[in-house]
Symmetry: none
Subunit: 226 residues, 2 copies
Amino acid sequence: MSTQTVLIVEDEKDIRELLAFNCRREGFFVIEADNGYQAAALAAEKEPDVILLDLMLPGMDGLSVCKILQRSAATAAIPVIMLTAKGEEIDRIVGLEVGASDYVVKPFSTREVMLRIKSVLKRTAPGPGPNSLDCGAVRLDTTRHAAFVDDAEIALTLTEFRLLEDLLRHAGKVRTREQLLDSVWGYSFEGYARTVDTHIRRLRSKLGNAADTVETVRGMGYRAKG
Amino acid sequence: MSTQTVLIVEDEKDIRELLAFNCRREGFFVIEADNGYQAAALAAEKEPDVILLDLMLPGMDGLSVCKILQRSAATAAIPVIMLTAKGEEIDRIVGLEVGASDYVVKPFSTREVMLRIKSVLKRTAPGPGPNSLDCGAVRLDTTRHAAFVDDAEIALTLTEFRLLEDLLRHAGKVRTREQLLDSVWGYSFEGYARTVDTHIRRLRSKLGNAADTVETVRGMGYRAKG
DNA sequence: CCCTTGCGTTACGGTTTTGTGACGGTTGCG
DNA sequence: CGCAACCGTCACAAAACCGTAACGCAAGGG
């Protein structure tokens, strides 16, 4: 495995250097930024393997940086670990409106941060999956977060996109509602399994004449035609 | 799939019983321990499929239990899910280093714990048998939940599919109605044995010219042509 | 050859599962 | 603050599925 690059975005110099020191000791190549603009620019230029991103930054904050990274195909796939002080913000990040892969709450132990970096890299390394999923008339570009039917782009909401992505990643195989809830909504979702049905329905209606790409397997769940 | 065993290690009786209740409801066999010594002993003796381990225990704590389990070849491979109280961040990370497969932070939702158990077991468990069953012109793909006759897909209902799956998994051997009821309908089914006949018939009719794949053994039950 | 037993077949009512439309709550944005 | 988008839930309708019963045929033993 070649050397991997970590981008550390943190305005407090002491913390930044502490993190950088530890990262280097673990064998990573480190680049640093102390504000959001610089972070976005460096991420685009260097395309690091993982980004440590402080939520509270002067000027543009971490969430905005995240959103910018999401928009660009080159940087959308880079995993982001959020550093956050506030407990309340966690929900929003974990809800992953912004696409963060993980988060660490301040005050953190450097050891914890290192472990999370490794964990995220391990998760990403063995192929982050193809960034283009095809299934008949339906195509999904995961880096652009865009969906197409017969090469015409259709607008999907976040949940619909994730749902379709999960089905397509397991094309042909049955996915139970439980599995879909785990994968799309997350373990901590305390909801109703029928919620899946509703989103399947919305998804189908947006798929138009390709609606039958998503098949019902009665008594089991749903399956993408494969 | 045979029943899987969960070892629950938790000193607070209420929590332990809550977890045990939910595990049993999910079909697991449950053994319990309220301290570390007992946990280590039980793990070595019973070799459960997964261990739910509270971090804070009287006497020997969860970490020590983990380390002990790691040392013995028989128990090292057993996945451990840590239960930690909030604010023990460092500890829970160390727990992961020590070989825990996952962790849940208290207060947890039982649903989340159940999902993590299943997830861990899925990760660990070797494939639940082949996912493609062949028998002459008939083929069954269990992951897709699809059946084929002469490579043409046919639509089976859930019961029909399970019935055919059971027969094919025991291809050539006679399956009595009782065995089929247990396997396909579940032990708790209090029904009429002749129900099997009806489903066999429906199955045969859908199998078309491969109907004779399912043979009748008079006085005994049914058998897939082997 | 006849009788008994077991199985195949058909039909049907009830139950379960899924589709569908609608509603209220939340969030982000202007 | 109002608006729009999105999401989770609910209630009802539709469809699929299932279990049971009844009847007749076939098999096998005496």
